[in-house]
């Protein structure tokens, strides 16, 4: 066990715990905008988790995956927030 693998395991546990907390907030609500906010935070946590997996395996493939997750997270969250704001996504 090197220092890097220990810290990576700790970081992955922390990020997974953060994702679980976001899921709890999505489940509990109480408002729709809380759920959208929790989804946004969940996307960021998942993206960071993918990046740490890339660090662990030293593979550059994970970079593209993290970038795609960041973009999809932005688009989906803005779409949901726009729906909450106007009642429709594309006017």
């Amino acid at each position: 066990m090197t220092f890097l693998s220990i810290t990576l395991t700790a970081a992955q546990l922390l990020l997974a715990a953060g994702a679980l907390i976001c899921v709890w907030r999505m489940w509990r609500g109480p408002h729709a905008e809380d759920r959208v906010l929790a989804l946004d935070t969940l996307y960021v946590n998942g993206m960071l988790l993918v990046l740490t997996f890339g660090l662990r395996s030293s593979s550059t493939l994970y970079f593209e995956a993290a970038l795609v997750i960041a973009m999809l997270g932005f688009v989906s969250t803005v779409g949901l927030a726009k729906f909450l704001l106007r009642g429709e996504v594309i006017e």
Binding site: T2, F3, L4, I6, T7, L8, A10, A11, Q12, L14, L15, A17, G18, A19, I21, C22, W24, R25, H31, A32, E33, D34, V36, L37, A38, D40, T41, V44, N45, M47, L48, L51, T52, G54, L55, S58, T60, F63, A66, L67, A70, M71, F74, T77, V78, A81, K82, L84, L85
Partner: protein, 98 residues
């Protein structure tokens, strides 16, 4: 140098966890908007810095394209909240102040 990578990843993950923890600890939505920004700015930036350092050492070249993630997330989070906050204000118009 690998120690620095480990420390950067750990601090970034701690910040991301703190951002998620704020969603549970704070009571109203207007308070809960604040903590995730900690994760999306410094948390992502530190993990990306660790990634740049790690792949820079591994391939002995500057792996600067990882900055894309950090810049993209830091730019898009305010846009998301700029749409989300008016939605929350509009949906709770007329409610007593929290």
């Amino acid at each position: 140098m690998t120690y620095l990578v480990g420390v950067l990843v750990l601090v970034g993950a701690l910040l991301a966890f703190g951002g998620a923890l704020g969603l549970v600890r704070l009571t109203t939505f207007y308070e809960r908007v604040h903590p995730p920004t900690m994760a999306t700015t410094l948390g992502v930036a530190l993990v990306v810095a660790a990634s740049i350092l790690h792949f820079g050492l591994l391939e002995s070249r500057l792996a600067l394209h990882h900055v894309l993630i950090s810049v993209f997330v830091a730019l898009t989070t305010p846009i998301t909240y700029l749409v989300l906050m008016p939605a929350a204000l509009r949906r709770h118009r007329g409610d007593p102040a929290p």
